[in-house]
């Protein structure tokens, strides 16, 4: 069943200031045991940390039709977990960010991330143009979080 929220599973209910749990709408609960929340676990058998930051410098030549592995994080959870990855464009400014996937318009060059039951990978994927300047030797940072929740759902 797609529905997760179960209002009858009310072991723990925390209402925000000014509300009683009896009159609080589900949207307004600070915490309700009938929901599931994303958390970044630790001490659950993971190999690598489930939150982290990775520095990456692009190669001096970016070959055409090539996929580069920026990073492989081994989560070891045994299922594909929800995640989010942000890119920091260090060579633009320390204030410039985007979520993945992230691309350069009109170039065929982009970054993305993917997860399976053992790893989260960050990739740089290049299209049909070889780059020897512009996008080469550029510095990036990647912030990732891996959550306890499975992408494919709680069956």
């Amino acid at each position: 069943m797609p529905k997760i929220f179960d209002s009858t599973y009310d072991l723990v209910m925390v209402a925000p200031e000014g509300f009683s749990v009896e009159e609080t709408d589900p949207e307004d609960f600070s915490l309700h045991s009938g929901f599931i929340y994303h958390g970044v676990p630790f001490d659950v058998g993971e190999t690598d940390g489930l939150e982290g930051y990775i520095n990456y410098t692009t190669p001096s030549t970016i070959s055409a039709d090539t996929t580069y592995t920026v990073a492989t994080i081994t989560h070891g959870l045994g299922y594909a977990p929800d995640f989010q990855v942000f890119i920091e464009e260090k060579d633009v400014s320390s204030d410039t960010f985007a979520h993945l996937s992230y691309g350069y318009i009109g170039t065929g060059l982009y970054f993305t991330a993917r997860a399976n039951t053992t790893t989260l990978q960050i990739l740089m994927i290049n299209g049909s143009t070889e780059w020897t300047e512009g996008f080469t030797s550029r510095d990036y940072g990647f912030k990732y979080q891996i959550f306890n929740t499975p992408i494919t759902g709680h069956s």
Partner: protein, 259 residues
């Protein structure tokens, strides 16, 4: 308001004390919202479909925050996709439904895995900031609050069984805003002044011509300027075209960089 002696519940993450933890060291503050999962599922895109198709009737009466991944070659990728090589699929939400709008991927079938959250995209919310001074770490055992899924054990070693764990870093919402974007220096822009003292993570959406909300593919012309005091999500006017779009932005109490 934090610090006004109003009764509230504070829980610090493992290794910190609520006596002096900052906002990122707390896992729970009853004054701050989390992002609760309302529903989740899978939808198969195939060549027999003609968009739009309702994936799920959520019936919430508002367009909810949502996320979608697609499965390809044994890996799950986030949408929207930002390549120009046409991989992925586009989904939207309105007040009643999660909708599949288009596929830009030649090989079908393709499974989409989705989650809807019990929070409107159209919500303006802000809170007073918390003490930004980092706590000293705490030694020894600590109390914690663990909520297991129905019929699961709070001592389970499988993180999927846990609905909330106070020792884990949570996705805590700092603030949110929506509205017609401003035009600033050649960009359609929506901004929040957060004054968090660090650069926060965010989610962004836009309202499309069908009056539905969808995520924005990130490009060098569609990205954010995130400082320790504010965030501006920007779309290049020249690339976006048209009139100023309605945008939404949600900030989280987590750093987007290595700070």
């Amino acid at each position: 308001m934090i610090g006004d002696k109003t009764p509230k519940i504070l829980i610090a993450r493992s290794g910190y004390s609520v006596d002096d933890a900052n906002d990122r060291e707390l896992s729970f503050n009853s004054a701050w919202p989390l992002l609760p999962i309302e529903a989740e599922g899978v939808f198969e895109v195939n060549n027999t479909l003609s968009a739009p198709v309702t994936i799920y009737e959520h019936g919430l009466g508002y367009a909810p925050v949502f996320k979608v991944y697609y499965l390809k070659g044994g890996y799950l990728y986030p949408t929207p996709d930002s390549s120009l090589s046409a991989i992925g699929s586009t989904c939207t939400v309105d007040a009643n439904n999660l909708i599949w709008r288009s596929v830009y991927f030649s090989a079908t079938p393709m499974n989409l895995y989705w989650k809807i959250y019990r929070r409107p995209i159209e919500k303006n919310q802000d809170f007073d900031n918390y003490d930004l001074t980092a706590a000293t770490t705490k030694e020894g055992s600590q109390g914690k609050l663990v909520i297991a899924m129905p019929n699961k054990d709070t001592n389970s070693s499988d993180p999927r069984d846990i609905a909330f764990h106070s020792s884990w870093k949570q996705l805590i919402i700092d603030s949110s805003i929506y509205g017609v974007s401003d035009t600033v220096d050649g960009y359609y822009t929506i901004s929040i002044t957060h004054n968090l003292g660090y650069r926060p993570m965010y989610l962004s959406y836009y309202k499309n011509s069908n009056n539905e909300w969808q995520q924005i593919g990130a490009l060098d012309v569609y990205r954010a300027t995130v400082t320790t005091t504010s965030i501006s999500f920007k779309l290049s006017v020249g690339s976006w075209g048209g009139t100023a779009p309605t945008l939404a932005l949600i900030l989280f109490k987590s750093t987007i960089n290595n700070a």
